[in-house]
Symmetry: D2
Subunit: 343 residues, 4 copies
């Protein structure tokens, strides 16, 4: 059994990790920390875990974390980088669900996250945890940077096209809609039900932190610089991301459906739907799946790619578990077999 620790388990990625790890056949939950809630039973905060997780929150403490085989960080940006070096030195493997190790360039990190990076030396080693791009590296990784939710949906949708140079990499558009759990479990007026139910809006059109992450990943896939217009929207629902992706085809002869089907043929967690389908976010609710469908709109040289995930699963905690499975040589689908909840 893999002994797993979680640092910062009071947010939505934390409770989702708990939900997944509590029923994972190869994992023993050893410790879950929260400075503010130390001593409180996890199940008192998250009643869905009553009778299933008996651990209390504990104050972060090096000894108990170093006794783990793997530690997940479900913390605000900037927390993990302060604790990771010590854990790695102690031989613990680390999976960070925050942004600390996602960007390779520490200057870019500082620009978007507003603080200096405290262990830039680890950025080169950190593996970007998108298994569909980096499976082999993940199998050897000590330190994994789990992708953000938007970047997961957007990159999986564009990857096959950019890898094969089928679209203009300099003029991509991602119009993405997210449920509000993506904003985390923080008390903020703007995410009250009375504020954001029965309404929809765009936000951060001038620049969102996930944009450099997306561009970095797509640049690797395409081998060229990426031009991207990225418009995130807040949709009145709890979970789900729907990415509507627009790209200009370089030529229109290629069987694009075949390209996607072949690219993801061996992937357990990417579902290429029939051409012209319309994936619904509910079809992945609670499941570690990305469903993708292609469209060729009339009278246009564009391709439209629809890509949906559950932001808390394939966009966060599920992907983290998938990465753990790879790092420890478990079956990649272990603990991730749940079917989406519909209706």
């Amino acid at each position: 059994m893999i002994k797993a620790g979680i640092v910062g388990g009071t947010g939505y990625t934390g409770v989702e990790l708990l939900r997944l790890l509590a029923t994972h056949p190869g994992v023993e939950l050893a410790v879950i920390t929260s400075r503010s809630e130390a001593g409180k039973a996890v199940a008192d905060m998250f009643p869905n875990l009553r009778g299933r997780v008996s651990l209390p929150f504990s104050a972060p403490d090096s000894e108990s974390l170093q006794a783990c085989d793997v530690v997940f960080f479900a913390t605000p940006n900037g927390t993990a980088m302060g604790m990771v070096p010590e854990l790695l030195d102690a031989g613990v493997r680390v999976i960070d669900l925050a942004a600390d190790f996602r960007l390779k360039d520490p200057a870019l990190w500082q620009q978007w996250y507003g603080m200096a990076h405290t262990c830039p030396g680890l950025l080169a080693e950190a593996v970007y945890g998108l298994p569909e791009m980096n499976r082999e590296a993940l199998q050897q990784a000590r330190l994994v940077a789990c992708p953000g939710c938007y970047p997961t949906a957007v990159q999986l949708g564009f990857l096959p096209l950019l890898e094969q140079g089928l679209v203009d990499a300099g003029r991509l558009i991602a119009d993405v809609k997210s449920g509000v759990s993506g904003a985390g479990r923080k008390a903020a007026t703007g995410f009250l039900l009375a504020e954001c139910s029965e309404s929809l809006k765009a936000y951060a059109v001038a620049g969102h932190r996930h944009m450099p992450e997306i561009k970095q990943g797509l640049a690797v896939a395409s081998g060229s610089a990426i031009g991207l217009v990225f418009v995130p929207h807040l949709a009145p629902m709890i979970r789900g991301i729907h990415a509507t992706l627009y790209a200009i085809l370089q030529e229109t002869e290629t069987d694009l459906q075949a390209v996607f089907e072949q690219r993801f043929a061996a992937e357990a967690f990417v579902d290429v739907m029939p051409f012209g389908s319309h994936p619904e976010t509910r079809s992945v609710r609670g499941a570690n799946v990305c469903r993708i469908a292609l469209h060729r709109p009339p009278d246009s040289n564009m391709i439209v790619i629809l890509s949906v995930i559950d932001n808390l699963v394939k966009g966060a905690a599920g992907q983290a578990v998938q990465n753990m499975n790879l790092m420890f040589g478990l079956k990649e689908t272990s603990g991730l077999e749940a079917i989406a909840l519909l209706p």
Copy 2:
């Protein structure tokens, strides 16, 4: 492996059964019928099942159903009773999720369901599938009548009190709120999002079909006639039942919390929360659990019991699987370990 068939798999209890059975370690899905959708892949109707259930719908056919060990009926009321006798004769065990075998009195059935019962001779044999009441009988049952969603939440909440004669059985009140999936997957104006979102209403105050079922079960528990005012409400959410139950205490000395905790101590799927708690329906979303909490409102001789379930799981498909586990000697929790999806 138990070979399982489902008759009528196009509704919400059908897809929920599929979700549960597809990951059940002891079950092989053998056949799923739908007269209207015969030939269509199940996953084409329910995209959450893509890659997980490869069966197509087939027309109902005696041979394939009789080759099953167990057949679930997820059909409209009145369908199962036409097919069950033949299946039982063929040695197939039957679990009906509709109302056909819930009421012991065929006259009462006719009164509430508007048609004559075609196999009243089976009503005595049919076991009412509330394991917390009838576990032993279920282990021997050929034919199980799964309780309705409201009756599950209401009966579990009142049971300990009535079994011990602690409340006035003649003056019970059940004010119950249900998500709209309880109405099924039928095209009806009243259940459109634009009609029932952002609104709440009571319905069927003059008489709801689940009332005689509740009274029948509670009468067995109490050994006396039941008086019940039952007011169901439609709440603007997909899943969940919240029963708010009111009863008049016969005396106020008993430790009621202890009564409930002892009554359900051995039950895997009933969670008695600390006294004074407020269970949320989301704490059981997707899970086969009933959570119960007790309150003694100020200046009153009443007890208020709060009881929540997911109407499609503990209120339908999950309970059906729990019954199957009992009937076939499997571990009662097999296939039902999923933790509720929160948020």
Copy 3:
């Protein structure tokens, strides 16, 4: 034109008052205060008011408030009582939407609101602003205490029965469901969309601040002490209160429907629906109406009353405007003619 001021306009009752007063033909909005937002345009916080309300928030200041004919307090409990005496001395009439002047007994106020009352001498003079009970007194009032949202729905539903002694006043039950805007516009984790959407729960069963207010009002109506079990619930919607009221009939001969129809025949804002109807909260969304329907559940000596309001309109700002109309001799319906938004 009546010059109106609003103290504390940054919450939901504040913006709702602005919405109603901005189109009221007899009112001029003179000042709206907010200590925290002073200088900011009201329409920058509430974009629905863009182009309709040009006022900025200003710091609370005696002079500008004393220049008003009427001042509304849409402040947290305990704020108004510190400012009201001075305003009354200056000849300004006051309508408080908070709880400061609702309870006649200052000891009870202190018990439920946790602070000493600073002007108990005004409690006797303050008129409880339920026009259907106190219309004549309101026409002369200097100081009006607007009822809470729950108390409005519950009292209007029980009033005719208690006034005529038709039910047992000692054993009333109010099972009430509210949208989340009732909790106000404060950043609190529990009211995030991701926390309270797709879920329903009871809360404060051990005692809610609106209980003494309800009992006080009903005791006046009935002339006897009130026994009340009051269970509020949080429903996953923005606006709306649905009160489901239970009472034991003293006798069953009276034509209860006629009692209600006669009681409210002259009321513009109470709609007695046909016997056996099921009012929906959406039928009053945005409108200053209470809709009521009666039921006699089978096999019972109870009456069930269903009463719905929009908690922000008839339960708060709309009722405040109705009171203002009465105090200033305007037509009672002035500025309140909007029809509910459906769907």
Copy 4:
């Protein structure tokens, strides 16, 4: 008083027209027809109208309709064209909220709506009812074709840019999100709350009926052919359209904000928000307003326009009333002063 009739008042545009006309100071509601509901009181179907609209539905009948000054058609596509010629001959003015008279080319109409046009001779005369484009023509019109909801939001967002040739008219993108009331009040499985709540999806990417209408209008504005990729989405809310519009700038020197502000300076119902704003659909809920905001995403030669309306008001019934006001020389804002309901 203008005598107004409504043909087909049982859908959402019908009830919204009733809500608006019932409080319009210059209109008398004379007749509302519904073949299926003839004899039933309108307020029995739409309880928000109780006490406000006393009319019953009547069977469509030439005489009563011809006695009206104006008749609104809130009917399925293809109904109006069968009745309009006779009404015009009788001197009645007609406002069609369906698609019958929106497209100037009858062949295009047949292609998209699947039936031959029965009065193509009226297409040239019919004025497209977008007052911000066609105010003068509307003031003289006998027959007005009200725009669809998507076309209203999209055209108002693109208009100033195309009129001045500031963007590439051949490569426009409209990624639009709509609440489900846009689908109308018809019993269809896909629009059940249990199906489309807590989910988001694109639909009709291969071609939506509103696309030719948008292109026709924009071609007039730009004077050149339009290339448009139009991707509609279904969002889990009742009302609201959020159009996210992408266009490639021909040059980047122009003060685009000034262009929009000047273009709409005299428009009562178009609100150009500050540059970089993020309009919310709730800011126009129930109000006849289109709010627009501009963005220049980083590292791109594109402009992003955000445009929100209430699909049932500025996208349907409100715009119809605005057109009526123009046709009859009333104040353009008459009956349309309501402020959006927020929260």
